[in-house]
């Protein structure tokens, strides 16, 4: 069997990292396995935090940095390291690219989602949530994303962001309130969820 064909489904993170650090012939397969395990988690964080375009860039840059870091340092907790790298990358990217929201000067007309079922309404809801997230302040958005997209505890979020748990609680509470406020014209139409 060729090295590339080896599957690491049952291998632990430490074994995979060791293969990468020692630059074994199976490093490609090991890195591929780690990617398959954690790419969803990292993608959720990056895209929810920065949007699709910048989120994808941050996602790719995160794994590039992780690969180089795994080759020269001992990593104990892969998801924690990936989240830390992703957070730093996202903050750097946010600093480099200032987002501006262009708003129309026309007088808008309030409108509710037409009561229809199907895939379209679901996609529309996803887009509305993305817009709502984009409108949150970065710190508040980050706390909310770490909590509800990464399923981290308040304590973990506090450790990662370096703020007290009470601050995390307030940020998440504030994020929910703002999201509810933003989505209030449509929140009553979300019956199918």
């Amino acid at each position: 069997m060729q090295p590339d064909a080896i599957t690491y489904t049952n291998a632990s993170d430490e074994q995979l990292l060791l293969s990468i650090r020692l630059q074994k012939p199976t490093a490609n397969a090991a890195f591929s396995e780690l990617y398959d395990r954690y790419h969803g988690r990292v993608a959720k964080y990056c895209i929810a935090l920065l949007g699709k375009q910048d989120g994808n860039d941050a996602f790719q840059e995160t794994f590039v940095k992780f690969y180089h870091a795994a080759g020269r340092t001992v990593v104990e907790n892969v998801p924690a390291m990936l989240t830390t790298i992703a957070r730093n990358v996202c903050i750097d990217l946010k600093r480099r690219r200032k987002h501006t929201v262009v708003l129309d000067d026309d007088t808008p007309q309030r409108q509710s989602i037409p009561p229809s079922s199907g895939n379209y309404e679901q996609q529309e809801l996803m887009r509305l949530i993305e817009i709502g997230l984009e409108y949150l302040d970065f710190d508040i958005r980050e706390a909310f994303v770490l909590r509800h997209y990464q399923d981290l505890s308040y304590q973990e979020i506090a450790m990662l962001t370096g703020v007290p748990e009470t601050t995390v609680t307030k940020r998440i509470w504030r994020a929910k309130e703002r999201l509810k406020q933003v989505l209030s014209p449509f929140i009553n139409d979300l019956n199918q969820l």
Partner: protein, 442 residues
């Protein structure tokens, strides 16, 4: 509503509410309907966020790009496992285009259905007209030559001298010029019994005109010397010489004698492979103006601004590339109904925007005339251009009527679509309508 209870709802949903506070919250929930609604909203929001989190995934091909950036080769097992994922990821944008192009999914389907139906109907109409030979006067196409378009028309049916025309002869003028007389026409081709116009003129002026063609020929032969030098001149390849009057031209003894004096092998024979002499399409600029009575799909709920001088109007300048094709530029104005969502900064709410602005557009246009030498011809016009907010495409299918060699009228159906992006989401606004216009060859 008590703010502390709202915060307790939040803490309860997060699993952070202490047990000793739960009973108080439950008691308040059973008594307070607003608080129950607050909790319902809270749960709906969290469910929506969970659904959103599940939908987030990296773009297709990211893994390949990542391995390529790292200089790694993607393992075989990863390639096999990544392929279905990539295919699934690729299908997502297509579904988004199909269902999310406008705010109403039914409107999109209706628009697509209407576009398909109109395209098929137009294609059938064109095929029907071509199949029945309506545009070709029911004639057959001769070897290498254009069909005589009006061979069966009433104009020529009442004119038996048309029998002297060659099968490949083409009459271009229909309004200002009654008929063209072929130079190769010989005496046998003349039908003297059908010169009713000449007879009528002769009846009114019995002393000034000969009684028939033979007398006229002999009379003019006596008055005019034989133009032998003319007979030696090389004859042009024109099959016809334009006459000023039916009777005078059809019985012109000069032309008859000139041609009859030529040897048979030197007589001019029309070359059917040459371009038509009196072609309508000359290599000059064609300026056109047309109006469009269009409506948006779905129907606009907001009235458009009114610019009565130039609204729903297009101006074009076309340069003919061939007898059938012309390329040029077009500018115009048309109202496009726009619907999208945005955020109100003051209320911090997402709102729907509906507006119907009149947009100026400009683009490159290609016009194809299917039967450029005929009185009626189907035409197709494509325009690709843009407006101040996005790209625009237009297609017009219609029927062109040639008033004379330089003036044409067109009536048809026109569809246009405006493609614009708002907050990274592509939207399109289609219009369908009737187009009518006139063009002049400068």
């Amino acid at each position: 509503m008590n703010a502390s209870f709202r915060e307790q709802v939040h803490l309860y949903c997060e699993g952070l509410l202490p047990e000793y506070a739960e009973n108080a919250l439950f008691a308040e929930l059973s008594a307070n309907s607003d608080l129950r609604a607050e909790m319902t909203e809270h749960l709906k929001l969290l469910a929506a966020v969970k659904s959103h989190a599940a939908s987030l995934r990296p773009a297709s091909g990211t893994k390949n790009a990542l391995f390529a950036e790292l200089g790694l080769s993607l393992p075989q097992s990863a390639v096999q496992s990544a392929t279905p994922n990539a295919a699934a990821a690729i299908t997502l944008p297509q579904a988004a285009v199909g269902t999310g192009a406008t705010l109403g999914g039914q409107s999109t389907l209706f628009t697509v259905f209407l576009s398909l139906f109109s395209s098929v109907a137009t294609a059938f109409a064109v095929l029907f007209f071509l199949q029945t030979g309506w545009f070709q006067g029911g004639s057959k196409i001769t070897d290498g030559g254009a069909p005589p378009p009006f061979q069966n028309s009433s104009l020529l049916a009442s004119d038996p001298t048309n029998q002297a025309f060659m099968p490949h002869d083409t009459i271009r003028e229909t309004t200002t010029i009654v008929r063209y007389v072929p130079i190769v026409q010989n005496a046998a081709g003349l039908n003297t019994t059908n010169h009713s116009d000449a007879d009528g003129i002769q009846a009114s002026h019995p002393n000034s005109l000969p009684t028939n063609d033979s007398e006229q020929a002999s009379q003019q032969a006596q008055e005019l010397p034989m133009p032998t030098p003319i007979a030696q001149e090389p004859q042009p390849s024109y099959p016809y010489r334009r006459s000023t009057h039916i009777s005078a031209s059809s019985s012109n003894p000069l032309s008859q004698e000139v041609n009859s004096s030529l040897p048979l092998h030197e007589r001019p024979v029309s070359n059917t492979t040459e371009a038509p002499i009196f072609s309508r399409t000359k290599l000059g600029i064609i300026a056109g103006i047309r109006g469009v009575r269009s409506r948006s799909l779905p129907e606009a709920t907001v009235e458009a601004n009114s610019y009565p001088l130039f609204n729903n109007t297009a101006l074009s300048l076309m340069l003919p590339l061939s007898p059938t094709g012309a390329l040029g530029i077009e500018v115009g104005q048309e109202a496009y109904f726009l619907r999208y969502r945005t955020i109100l900064p003051e209320q911090e709410q997402i709102v729907g925007i509906e507006k119907n602005p009149v947009l100026a557009w400009a683009g490159v246009s290609y016009r194809h005339t299917f039967l450029p030498n005929d009185l009626f011809s189907p035409v197709m016009n494509f325009t690709l251009g843009g407006t101040s907010i996005g790209a625009m495409g237009r297609t017009m299918l219609g029927l062109q009527y040639s008033i004379d060699t330089k003036t044409r009228c067109t009536l048809g159906v026109e569809a246009s679509s405006l493609l614009y992006i708002h907050r990274d989401v592509w939207n399109f606004s289609p219009n369908v309508g009737i187009s009518y216009g006139i063009s002049f060859e400068l």
